[in-house]
Symmetry: C2
Subunit: 193 residues, 2 copies
DNA sequence: CAAGAACTTGCGTGTCACGCACTATTTGCG
DNA sequence: CGCAAATAGTGCGTGACACGCAAGTTCTTG
């Protein structure tokens, strides 16, 4: 148990994020102000002061889970076979990362479609850009601007895909929407419907 | 007089954003907490309560100018000649929009490189996505996913370009960096140095 | 097993966002 | 030309919040 401490820490962090997101979903996008810090803390089994040691705002706590997921983007790409072309490697890595457990619709809807959460939601997705850019740079041998642009564009495309997946009209698996969105990015000529 | 009222409103809004950004730059990225609401309001010549009618957080006020600029992305694209290919039209439109007055380095550095401002900064850039996507859809005739993905990717590339332009090492005009970043997006094969 | 690091918690404080009620200015209409 | 309705600015009061500080508690390490 080299790090019993680190695991406890991660556990409480997750307890807080899941509690925060659950309470937010219960109140719906309109009543975000009704989700009190005390409620989140007690729901997570922790003192309000401890909650505040982990997150410095309700918004950050609610979107913390999304941030943790995005942060693994680089590792997801690194796990792809080395011979694979970059575009399919990225696509499959992102599909795996974001649909391995198909995300909870209500949770994602809360995070992405609540105006007061918009900033933190963008931040949560953006934390993946750095690690993804690094992984892309390793794979392509390139360095500097292009990998970062590609990484940021990929993350942006996934955001758009998420928005579309939440649309009541389109009732397709999230994986398909992500593939279509990244297709728009990687093969601009072909208009995939 | 097309609405004296609307113009006054825009004037006070700009007064608040410029005051907020100026004070923030004065304190530097570290001392954001020292920028009090009272200071911003009095520097803008309005009451603190009025400041709060326009913005609901310091961060929003500081990044308000950036948001206003990004919001014009759609119009900037529409102003390009109709025959132009999409990629060059977008590139030139964005170069014009973001470098017509070369941005203030200190201000952009404050907005983009202050951790507490990251969420609002992303939000400020993201407000341009909707209008840009609409303009792209009009031009290309397409609708749905692809224009939105392209718009989001373009905005993301500009963000990365801004980050690179702020790097002390690279001392190039902002326009060049934007062109290189969008080049990474539109012609992925060519590795522009 | 003891010293010290890391984590949690309670308390106190300064700041903030916002609802409400009131005043002043602008607009549109008879 | 004035009068009513709409809109913006302001002061006050309140509830919530983020965080510094200083204990107390649990884990790590030599």
């Amino acid at each position: 148990m080299s790090d019993l401490r680190a695991r406890n820490r991660q556990a409480t962090r997750e307890a807080i994020t899941t509690a925060a997101l659950r309470l937010a979903v219960e109140q719906g996008p309109g009543g975000l102000a009704l989700v009190r810090v005390n409620d989140i803390a007690s729901a997570a089994g922790v003192s309000p002061r401890t909650y505040n040691n982990y997150f410095s705002s309700r918004e950050e706590a609610i979107c913390g889970g999304q941030a943790d997921q995005s942060r693994r983007a680089g590792d997801a790409l690194r796990a792809r076979p080395a011979g694979e072309p970059l575009d399919v490697a990225v696509t499959e890595a992102m599909v795996g990362l974001f649909t391995d457990p198909e995300p909870d619709r209500a949770g994602l809807r809360m995070i992405m479609l609540t105006p007061e959460l918009e900033g933190e939601a963008l931040r949560a997705f953006a934390v993946g850009e750095a690690s993804l850019a690094e992984a892309i740079a390793e794979r392509g041998g390139e360095t500097g601007l292009c990998p970062e642009v590609t990484a940021a564009a990929v993350v942006a495309a996934i955001r758009v895909a998420g928005r579309h997946w939440l649309t009541p009209a389109a009732n397709q698996p999230f994986a398909d929407v992500i593939r279509r969105a990244l297709g728009c990015l990687f093969s601009p000529g072909r208009t995939s419907r």
